[in-house]
């Protein structure tokens, strides 16, 4: 069964190699890319079923047993995030094939995208911290290339910031790893959960906070988020969509994984995380309200929504972490689909400045409908998927007695709705500053409908999240109980 764990990492890497070889034919590259991502999607769906029915799945690389060898582990959390990521990556690749100007101009797009896929899967599955570091590097290396693929001056400028910030985070990660290894003599997460409990509590807490800082930079929490709204909007639309949907959430996943499995009991920095969560929500949404570019505005919302996930983690209760898992699944899908809508608008109107857009609702009513569904879902309007996630988090906060952060999260939801209505009234209602050119002059019908279908598929997936909220919440609750207990995970890895 370990093949289930190998496919999401190895298939994209092999696909990337094939794709470089097929560089002359864009059609063949597309075929390879789509089929590899389809394979990963099917594999991860099977993995979710398998992990949910028969428990944590472990693969020991080269048959070296766990604390010595390298283990790959899938539990309920990693399986469901992997499934959502695979779905998003597939939809965004379909969008990229449709979009004129990114994928068709660069031989390197498909191979790099597949390596990004491998990096994302790799970051979700390792059983030890050092491989988590390597996975982050694989993912980031691909993201550096994708971010600066056009080679324009603004991409180079923001790419430089992004690369240097990521490198500082990676150096801190390595430093934390060295300290953890020096203190315990292992980097295997299951092994660590037992050995860190034996350390002096001050040392354990210090290591926990150091890891929060490291992954906080990757997840863009307050006050470490400043690089994100500056660098994401300069990339091509599909690239921004996949970054916005996935990369920060992988940081959140890493916080969730390390703070639950590795650190136990009162070593967990719950209070710190709740304060950080409140500030992240508020600062992100206030930044968003002040923006006039659609993609910059949405980038600030990424930061704001990260706050909700951190809030659920900071509660350290089954209900809180279940809420976070539900919210991560919803966010990956909705954030990516909002950025795809922004990409559709960019293609159609050749700008994403809100003061130049207008009247799109009458011309492109399907785009308007897709935006409305995704935006209302982001703000948390019932019965859409954002409401389900936020309800779970608010209930958990109320149960945990964290009233301040609950109040902040509700107020931030209102501001989110306000800034979404700002996009709506500026881009979809009113009159454009100059009349819109006919669609045929910008993009062919075939490409347009492919992009539209990819976006619609993601929006539909977010509707599925809200329709299947009951089973999904029960699944997240089981996953959260596993994480907080940890004995299943540790037992399966070290058995």
């Amino acid at each position: 069964m370990s093949v289930l764990l190998a496919v999401p990492i190895i298939a994209p890497l092999l696909g990337a190699a094939t794709s470089i070889g097929l560089g002359k034919s864009r059609r063949a590259q597309r075929l390879v890319g789509m089929s590899v991502l389809g394979l990963v999607l099917v594999d991860s769906a099977f993995l979710v079923w398998r992990v949910d029915t028969s428990g944590v799945l472990v693969a020991h690389a080269g048959r070296w047993r766990a604390p010595v060898g390298i283990a790959f582990v899938a539990d309920r959390l990693s399986a469901v995030v992997l499934l959502t990521s695979a779905l998003t990556l597939l939809a965004v690749l379909a969008f990229a094939i449709g979009e004129p100007g990114t994928e068709d101009r660069h031989v390197g797009f498909h191979p790099t995208y597949l390596i990004l896929t491998a990096g994302v899967s790799f970051a979700l599955l390792p059983g030890d911290l050092f491989n988590l570091f390597v996975a982050f590097e694989v993912m980031l290396m691909a993201s550096y290339v994708l971010l600066t693929m056009g080679g324009r001056a603004d991409q180079v400028r923001s790419g430089m910031t992004y690369v240097v910030v990521s490198l500082v985070a990676s150096s801190l990660f390595l430093l934390a790893l060295a300290l953890i290894y020096a203190a315990t003599g292992t980097v295997n997460m299951a092994d660590l959960s037992e050995k860190i409990a034996d350390l002096p509590p001050g040392l354990g807490r210090g290591l926990a906070v150091l890891l929060v800082v490291v992954f906080g930079i990757k997840a863009a929490v307050f006050p470490l988020f400043f690089w994100l709204p500056d660098s994401y909007p300069t990339a091509a639309a599909p690239v921004t969509a996949v970054f916005a949907g996935l990369l920060t959430k992988i940081g959140v996943y890493a916080i969730l994984r390390t703070q639950t499995v590795v650190f136990t009991g009162d070593l967990r920095p719950g209070g710190l995380l709740l304060v950080v969560a409140a500030f992240t929500m508020v600062v992100g949404v206030l930044g968003a309200v002040a923006q006039t570019d659609m993609r910059r505005l949405l980038s600030f919302h990424i930061v704001s929504q990260i706050g909700y996930m951190i809030m659920g983690i900071g509660l350290f209760s089954v209900a809180g972490i279940a809420g976070t898992i539900l919210f991560v699944v919803h966010q990956i899908v909705v954030k990516a689909s909002l950025f795809l809508v922004a990409g559709l608008i960019q293609v159609r109107a050749a700008t994403d400045r809100l003061d130049r857009l207008g009247g799109l609702a009458g011309v492109e009513s399907v785009v308007a409908a897709l935006f409305a569904l995704a935006a209302l879902s982001l703000a948390g309007v019932p019965p859409l998927s954002g409401f389900v996630g936020k309800l779970a988090l608010v209930q958990a906060g109320a149960e945990g007695g964290a009233w301040m952060v609950v109040a902040v999260s509700l107020a931030v939801s209102l501001l989110t709705l306000f800034s979404m209505s700002k996009i709506w009234s500026a881009a979809f209602w009113g009159e454009p500053s100059e009349p819109l050119a006919p669609r045929a002059s910008r993009v062919s019908d075939r490409r347009w409908y492919l992009m539209l279908a990819a976006t619609a598929a993601l929006v539909a997936a977010s509707l599925v999240v809200s329709l299947a909220a009951g089973p999904l919440h029960r699944y997240s609750t089981r996953a959260a109980a596993d994480l907080l207990d940890g004995s299943d995970y540790v037992g399966a890895v070290l058995r």
């Binding site: 603004d154 400028r157 790419g159 240097v164 500082v168």
Partner: protein
């Protein structure tokens, strides 16, 4: 020996951080390299020497710990790759802008290019300062 290593790690990390705060891209790249080396030295120090070797068994006690060395080796390779990419990016920046400086970010430029705020008499009073040419 440990003190020497700790000191050199501190110096490398300190110099790396200082260089990274510079506005010249070439210095930033060198800074990233130094920081990476500093962290690798810390990683080397993390090993617990003199314990039983992991794979071969037996009672030998003069083995150094191989795991941090393997990790440092991996980290060196990764840093090497990323620095190569950074150099390419710095070169591209130089060929696009003709300059080695980090450019201002968009927000800074927008604030700098915004028209100056006109204060009316009331808000100038609120600010507590008297504008020149006041009647």
């Amino acid at each position: 020996m440990t003190l020497v290593l700790a000191f050199s790690a501190a110096v490398l990390c300190g110099c790396g951080t200082w260089l990274m705060l510079d506005r010249h891209l070439s210095r930033v790249v060198v800074g990233v390299g130094l920081l990476g080396h500093g962290v690798n030295v810390v990683l080397m120090m993390a090993g617990v020497g003199g314990s039983r070797p992991a794979f071969v068994g037996g009672e030998t006690t003069d083995f150094s710990d191989p795991l941090p060395q393997a990790m440092a080796l991996t980290a060196i390779v990764i840093t090497f790759g990323v620095i190569a990419f950074l150099l390419a990016l710095a070169y591209r920046s130089w060929s696009v802008t003709g300059d080695d400086q980090v450019e201002d970010d968009i927000e800074d430029r927008r604030v700098a290019s915004a028209p100056p705020v006109e204060l009316d008499a009331q808000s100038a009073d609120d600010l507590g300062g008297s504008l020149e040419g006041e009647p």
